[in-house]
C-alpha cells in the first residue's frame, strides 16, 4: 500500500457525492469495519501512557514529601522511556491499518533507553508527550464510544426479535409494547448507521493528531526537506562534473591516442612510400588530412568538457588557454584567491568558454573583456563584448544552457544585450556550496 497523507484524505472526501459518501460509510462497508477496528485498537495504546505512569503510584502510595518527589522523578523518567516504544507502536498501527505513513520524528526513532536524557532536546518531544498523555486518552474515548455505539445499536435493533421470542404473557411482549419496541428498534438502526461515522471521526481525528504531534513539525519538515534537496542536488551536480571528467579522460586515453597514432602512420606512409600509384597516394593524403582534422575537432570538444589544466593550475591557467584560442582579442583578468571548489571552477570555466564561443559565433565583436574575481564567498564573472548585441536568452539553447548550469550551483546569471551592443554577461557563483 502506498503511503497516504492527510491531505489525500481531504481530497478523497471532497471528490465524492453525498450519497456515495453515505454508502461509503454504511455499517456493512469495508471502510466502516476498518475504521472501527482502527478506533478500537487505539484504546489500549492510548491508555497505556497513563496506565504505565500510574502503575507505581497504585503499587505504592507514599505520604511523605521525599518519597513523593522520588516517585515523581521516577514517573518522569518512565514517561520518557515509554515515549519511544509507544510512538513506534502507534506508527505501526497507522501504517498497518490505514496505510498512513506518520513520518518518524528525527532523533527519537531508533533510540535506546540509555539515550533517553538526550531525547529532552528533541524539539518534537513535548508534542509526542501531548499526544500520548493528552490527546490519546481523549481519542481512546472515541474508540470506546465507537464500541458502545455498535453494541447499543445491535442490542436495540435486535430488541424486536428478543420481544418476539418472549411468550405473550411476559411483561415485555411484542403485543403490549409494540410502539416502544418499534421506536427502540429504529433507534438501534440509527445507532448502527451512526457507528461507522463515530469510528470515522475517531480515525480522522487520530490521524490528524498523529500527523501533527507524532511526526515532524511542518516547518521543520520543510526545512529538513530543503536541506535534503540541496544536498542531493549538490551531489547530482558533482556527479555530472565527475562524469564529464571521466568522459574527458576516456576520450583522452582512447580515441585521441588512436587517432594520433593513425594520423602518424598515415603521415609516415605519405612521407616514406615511394612508387605508389598517384591514385593511391591521393587517398593516403586525403586520409591523413582528415585524420588531422578529426584530431583538431576532437581536441576542441574534449577541452570544452573539462581541461586537465583547470584541476591542476586553476581558472587563470585554463581560461588563458581558452582566450588564446578565440579569434577575437580577449583581455583576461582572473583574481581567484583562494581557489573555489572544483565544481564551481568547472561551472565558471564552462560559462566563460561558452560565452566566448557565442561571441565568436554571433556578436561580430572586435574586443572582449573577461573579468573573474572572487569577493568573499562569491565568484563573480563578467564578460563584456563590443559586438552587435541583441542576444536573447529565450532565443537559443546556448544561453539557456548557461543559465541552467549556473543555477545548478545556486548562481545568478544576467545578460544585458541591447540591439547594437554592447553585451554584458554577469554571473555570480557562491563558492561555498
Amino acid at each position: 500500500m502506498a503511503p497516504r497523507h492527510l491531505w489525500q484524505y481531504g481530497s478523497f472526501m471532497a471528490s465524492i457525492s453525498p450519497v456515495r459518501h453515505a454508502f461509503a460509510h454504511a455499517p456493512w462497508s469495508r471502510a466502516a469495519w476498518r475504521d472501527t477496528v482502527f478506533a478500537v485498537s487505539g484504546v489500549p495504546l492510548q491508555f497505556a501512557g497513563w496506565t504505565i505512569l500510574g502503575l507505581p503510584w497504585t503499587l505504592w502510595t507514599p505520604v511523605n514529601v521525599t518519597p513523593i518527589l522520588f516517585l515523581t522523578g521516577c514517573t518522569i523518567v518512565l514517561a520518557l522511556l515509554v515515549m519511544v516504544p509507544l510512538t513506534s507502536a502507534q506508527r505501526e498501527r497507522f501504517w498497518a491499518m490505514l496505510g498512513l505513513d506518520v513520518p518518524p520524528l528525527p532523533g527519537l526513532e531508533g533510540r535506546r533507553w540509555w539515550n533517553t536524557p538526550r531525547d529532552l532536546r528533541v524539539p518534537g518531544l513535548w508534542r509526542v508527550l501531548r499526544y500520548h498523555l493528552l490527546i490519546g486518552p481523549m481519542l481512546a474515548f472515541g474508540g470506546l464510544l465507537t464500541c458502545a455505539t455498535w453494541a447499543a445499536g445491535v442490542l436495540l435493533a435486535g430488541i424486536g426479535t428478543y420481544a418476539w421470542a418472549l411468550p405473550d404473557t411476559s411483561v415485555f411482549s411484542l403485543s403490549t409494547h409494540a410502539i416502544r419496541i418499534g421506536l427502540l428498534t429504529a433507534l438501534g438502526v440509527l445507532l448502527l448507521l451512526a457507528a461507522p461515522w463515530v469510528a470515522a471521526a475517531t480515525r480522522n481525528l487520530d490521524a490528524r493528531a498523529a500527523l501533527a504531534l507524532l511526526g515532524p513539525d511542518r516547518a521543520e519538515e520543510l526545512e529538513r526537506r530543503v536541506e535534503d534537496l540541496a544536498e542531493k542536488r549538490a551531489s547530482v551536480v558533482d556527479a555530472a562534473d565527475l562524469e564529464r571528467r571521466r568522459i574527458e579522460r576516456d576520450l583522452h586515453d582512447g580515441a585521441q591516442q588512436r587517432l594520433v597514432s593513425m594520423a602518424m602512420n598515415l603521415g609516415l606512409a605519405r612521407e616514406t612510400l615511394t612508387g605508389v600509384p598517384d591514385e593511391a597516394m591521393r587517398v593516403i593524403v586525403e586520409a591523413h588530412e582528415e585524420a588531422k582534422e578529426a584530431l583538431t575537432e576532437l581536441r576542441n570538444l574534449v577541452r570544452g568538457l573539462h581541461p586537465a589544466v583547470l584541476e591542476d593550475r586553476g581558472l587563470d591557467a585554463a581560461l588563458s588557454g581558452v582566450a588564446a584560442r578565440v579569434p577575437v582579442p580577449v583581455r583576461l583578468s582572473v583574481r581567484v584567491e583562494p581557489r573555489a571548489s572544483s565544481t564551481v571552477e568547472a561551472v565558471a570555466y564552462f560559462v566563460v568558454s561558452e560565452t566566448l564561443t557565442n561571441i565568436v559565433k554571433h556578436a561580430r565583436a572586435t574586443a572582449v573583456d573577461v573579468e573573474v574575481a572572487r569577493t568573499g564567498d562569491v565568484l563573480g564573472l563578467k564578460v563584456v563584448d563590443d559586438g552587435v548585441g541583441g542576444a536573447d536568452p529565450a532565443g537559443g539553447t546556448g544561453l539557456l544552457g548557461l543559465a541552467r548550469r549556473v543555477r545548478s550551483v545556486d548562481g545568478t546569471f544576467r545578460i544585458a544585450s541591447p540591439a547594437g551592443g554592447p553585451t554584458t554577461v554577469t554571473v555570480e557563483l557562491p563558492c561555498a556550496l
Binding site: 579522460r249 583522452h252 586515453d253 585521441q256 591516442q257 588512436r258 594520433v260 597514432s261 594520423a263 602518424m264 602512420n265 598515415l266 603521415g267 609516415l268 605519405r270 612521407e271 616514406t272 591523413h288 585524420a291 588531422k292 584530431l295 583538431t296 581536441r299 574534449v302 577541452r303 581541461p307 586537465a308 589544466v309 584541476e311 591542476d312 593550475r313 587563470d316 591557467a317 585554463a318 588563458s320 588557454g321 582566450a323 588564446a324 584560442r325 582579442p329 580577449v330 583576461l332
Partner: protein
Amino acid sequence: MRIVIAEDSVLLRAGLIKLLETSGFEVAAAVGDADALLAAVREHRPDAAIVDVRMPPGFTDEGVRAALVMRRESPEVAVLLLSQYVEERYAADLLSTNTSGVGYLLKDRVADVAAFLDALRRVAAGGTALDPEVVSQLLLRRNRGPLDRLTPREREVLGLMAEGRSNAGIAAALVVSESAVAKHINSIFAKLDLPHAEGDHRRVLAVLHFLGGDT
C-alpha cells in the same frame, strides 16, 4: 641521435618508436611514467627526451614537472614535450628556466612527420620548438603595450620566431625573401627594446624571454 621516450599510451609509444627508428634515430628507452623517465635519462644520457605531459599517476602535468627536474639535473638533455592540449601556463613554466633545448608541441604534430622530426632535431641541437598555439597564447598573455607597436606582418614574424624557426624557415613560411625577414626582425627588436643579438638561436631566446617574462 639517441632518444628517450616517455608516453603512457602503449599504442603511441610503439608508433613513436617506429617513426623514430625508420627515420634514423636510436631509441634508448621507452617508458610509461615520469619516474621511469627520470631514471632512464640518468641511465642513458640521451640527446633528447620526448615526454608526454599527462602521465600516471595523476594524469595532469607530470610530464611538465619531470621536464623541469630534467632541466635542473641534466640541462644538456633536450626536452620535447608533447601534449593533447597546449597550455600557455605550462609553456611559461618551461621557458622560465632555460629556453635552449626545449620544445612544446601538440601531439597532433607528430602526424606531420617531416615537420615533427625537424622540430626534434632543432630541439636536440639546443634550439626551441614551440607550437603555434602556444605562441599565440603567449602573445595574448603578454602585456599588450609594446606588442601593439608592431605591424601585423611583424607580429606574424614574431610568432614564427617564437616557434623557434630560423630566418630561412620564416622566409619559407611567409613566402618572402630572407632579407625581408631580416628587416622585419630588426624592426621588431627595435620596437620591443630587445638587446641586439646575432644568429637565429640567440634571437629566439630573446623573443621567448620577452614573451615568457612577467608583465
